[in-house]
Symmetry: C2
Subunit: 212 residues, 2 copies
């Protein structure tokens, strides 16, 4: 990323970097896409697109910064949840609810992650994996094994469970345009989010709880 | 789609259309992508890329034809499963297994569907929805309601269940590159497919079965 002062940087209002990231997030969320045009970003943010070069180097750098912004929040939330003194069942219920809320806010997130892993060089792909995926993988491992050890959860594989749970939570919001075209609805309403959150918690917990 | 005889069409070997589709499928499966380059398609299939124009009009037409090929199979399989005389529990177990096998074969399928719904004009998006999504939605509705009526399934919403079940089945194979980079494995092995099939059937059935 270049640090040289580019055209436009001297005009940047306070918070311009965050505004560019949030506007990119809004565009991808509303369009159900994992890409932006710099001209639309400039138009919607009211900021000179030279600022993208100043803050992020290029569009790919902006995408990496957006992934970092969104994933850091998740890793911190999961760390905080794991640090709390609560039962595995309560912890998992809260985590599933938080996941649904997360995909409601950033429905592009998993696809952005896949795209950046795919398009990055091996070092950057490894950085993404080490920084964001490994901590989540370790948290799932501990959470599920704690529950199995206490006899609360059935003996499921934590890694396979990670895929089923996140896939279930993500799917509703990453198929938004299908909902719109097929069922004449838009999945990004708060009512639908709440209904899907309740369904996911109910369904995933029923799938994992040991029946006594 | 143009039907005019293009350069290369007279040389087309028997089965050239099917070979182009299968090669496009292979490229997207192996690369974990939802796009192809015509030059790679030509190189791998050994066919002149003018045949794409002949059979499909353009690359977008090839993508539509691939979606049709893959989705017609699924709709027929689901119709056949629904026509068989079996219990809702057996039917759902078989369906989940078939879904996992399907995403193993065509991990790009959900993303291709989303892409074509997004990029098509409203008429074509409606055709895709009416032809492929509505029949699946009706099948889920009947399958789940039959099971609920018989007291075998808990009272879950069939449409929300559709998203959780397909999301869970799809996720493993659509995150293949993450598995590769993060866990040093490749989800497209038959052993992993079998393990994930067993996990999905176990987990989803545990989530939906009524406990007596």
């Amino acid at each position: 990323m270049t640090q040289a002062a580019p055209q436009g940087a001297s005009d940047a209002p306070p918070g311009a970097r965050e505004l560019l990231l949030q506007t990119a997030s809004d565009i991808m969320r509303e369009g159900d896409i994992v890409d932006i045009s710099l001209s639309e970003l400039s138009l919607r943010s009211g900021l000179n697109s030279a600022l993208v070069k100043y803050y992020f180097g290029n569009k790919a750098g902006l995408m990496r910064a957006l992934l970092d912004r969104d994933m850091i929040d998740i890793v911190h939330s999961v760390d905080a949840l794991m640090a709390k003194d609560m039962s595995p069942e309560t912890r998992l219920r809260r985590h599933i609810g938080a996941m649904v809320d997360c995909y409601y806010q950033t429905p592009y997130l998993n696809r952005l992650l896949m795209r950046l892993v795919r398009e990055s060089d091996p070092d950057e792909a490894k950085r993404i994996a080490d920084t964001y995926l490994a901590p989540l993988s370790r948290a799932y491992d501990k959470l599920i094994k704690d529950g199995v050890a206490q006899g609360v959860f059935r003996n499921v594989d934590p890694q396979l469970f990670y895929f089923t749970a996140t896939g279930a939570a993500d799917r509703f919001f990453s198929t938004r345009l299908v909902l719109k075209h097929c069922f004449d609805t838009d999945s990004l309403t708060e009512d639908l989010r709440d209904a899907y959150r309740a369904h996911c918690i109910d369904f995933i917990m029923a799938g994992i709880l040991a029946h006594k």
